[in-house]
Amino acid sequence: MFRDLTTTLVLTQAQLKARYRNTVAGIVWVILNPVIMFGAQAIAFKHILKITIEDYYLYLLAGLVPWIFVIMTIQMATPILAGSGPILKAFKLNPIILIFSQVLDNLLNFMLAFSIMFIPIQMMYGPPAWTIILCILPLFLMLIGISSLCTSLSLTQVFYRDTNYVVNFITGVMFFVHLYSSHQKWSRQNMLGYLTFTSPIFTSMRFELVSIILIGTILFWPSVSAF
């Protein structure tokens, strides 16, 4: 088990290196990708469609960046086992290592992007910077959920090669359905009502940003884990 874990970490490090090799922007893509999506959606939904969500940029940060992580991980991990046949047949290797290393690779990209985007948001809205530590538990839960889901999908893809197409279709639809359905309930004042076990803590300490991050994670995670 420990050996598989260290092998996973080594493979994750190697994948991070391989991902940005021979690219012009390199590791900057970690930031560029979510920033571009953030900017595009902020302009499209806030300024063009005039969506009436209070603190929309905060909402977008809480939801969009974890969503990119979830979607990219699922889409990249689903075909991994089917495509790694030559490696798996060449020598003995626990196949789950390949999936977990892809998940960890994307997680590191997500954490870096989120941390950097957190800085301007924190400056705009003011909650203490140390509140980001409270994201550890939801992140851990999300990691477990995503890893389990990716393992199931990747194993299914080995036997039913249309799994990948179904995943791409459903994740595309889910994004827009979620955007439409969630904005009706969202507001800074009433969202704390959805945090049944944490609301007393956050109400008293006014960690609105952390609450938003938790909601963003929790809202997306059940819809993904419902698979």
Partner: protein
């Protein structure tokens, strides 16, 4: 004898009572998906005549390995010979723990190391050097970092690939990939070593060079299973051999007897 691998070796004798490998009544089945070419008219007729079978076809099962019983002791250098598709690689993968038997058991004591394809890179975008370090993780998971550095650097020097080691692995020819993999897998001995047609792809000069290194490792390892289509290689490297025919062990004996039987069975002309 100096043909084939080019280096003579001292035959080892069976010396230990506890088997390193014990296979009992091993059977392996594979499911096969057939996709016959058929016209639209033929498919329509099939769908109408037998709709259940058409829309949910039951997979055929191929009985790959049949009632295999085998024991390997310390010092055994077992050669496996047989025609293509007869189950040699399947048997080796089962021993390596990559396949679960449908029936029977495979018991090993000690570390098993196997490699089935020498032209596989983990991450083709990385350089040969980086892939070598990564591959060493999978082949030698229990060694320290310092030991790993020594082994990999020694193997990289042995490949004679020079500055190509720092170019992407995807740009390598098959021969270069084979050089890298063979040099790496022949770095450390182990309890049970499985080599499945590993010399394919290596050029004649490197084959001679790597043979000495591989044979040195074979001699230091507990037991070896060596799969090859070349009778000369089996004669050079092994003190025992089995002939696999249609998924069964047709004969188990000395390499000379097995090769003679193999050549007679398939009307192969013996080489000088």
């Amino acid at each position: 004898m100096r043909s084939g691998l080019g280096i003579g070796i001292k035959m080892n004798s069976i010396s230990d009572s506890k088997p390193i490998l014990e296979i009992t009544d091993l059977n392996i089945f594979f499911e096969l998906d057939y996709h016959y070419i058929a016209s639209v008219r033929e498919k329509f007729i099939q769908a109408v005549q037998n709709p259940l079978e058409f829309f949910s076809p039951s997979a055929d099962k191929l009985h790959v390995l049949k009632d295999i019983n085998l024991k390997l002791y310390h010092g055994d250098r077992l050669g496996i010979i047989g025609v293509n598709g007869t189950g040699k690689t399947t048997l080796c993968r089962c021993i390596a723990g990559m396949y679960v038997p449908d029936k029977g058991t495979v018991r090993t004591s000690g570390e098993v190391r196997a490699i089935f394809d020498t032209a596989v890179g983990i991450l083709p975008e990385l350089t040969g050097r980086e892939n070598a370090f990564l591959l060493s993780r999978f082949l030698y998971p229990n060694i320290s970092k310092a030991e790993r550095n020594d082994i990999v650097n020694d193997a990289l020097d042995f490949t004679e690939l020079g500055h190509f080691l720092d170019t992407p692995y995807r740009t390598y020819s098959k021969g270069m990939q084979t050089r890298l993999s063979l040099s790496l897998i022949s770095s450390l001995p182990t309890d049970l070593l499985i080599l499945d047609e590993v010399f394919d792809g290596a050029d004649q000069f490197f084959q001679k060079k790597i043979s000495k290194r591989v044979l040195d490792m074979i001699n230091k390892s507990g037991s070896v299973i060596f799969v090859s289509h070349g009778p000369e290689q089996i004669l050079q490297a092994c003190n025992r051999a089995i002939l696999i025919n249609n998924g069964r062990i047709a004969f188990d004996g000395s390499p000379e007897e097995v090769i003679k039987l193999y050549q007679n069975l398939h009307h192969v002309r013996p080489t000088a």
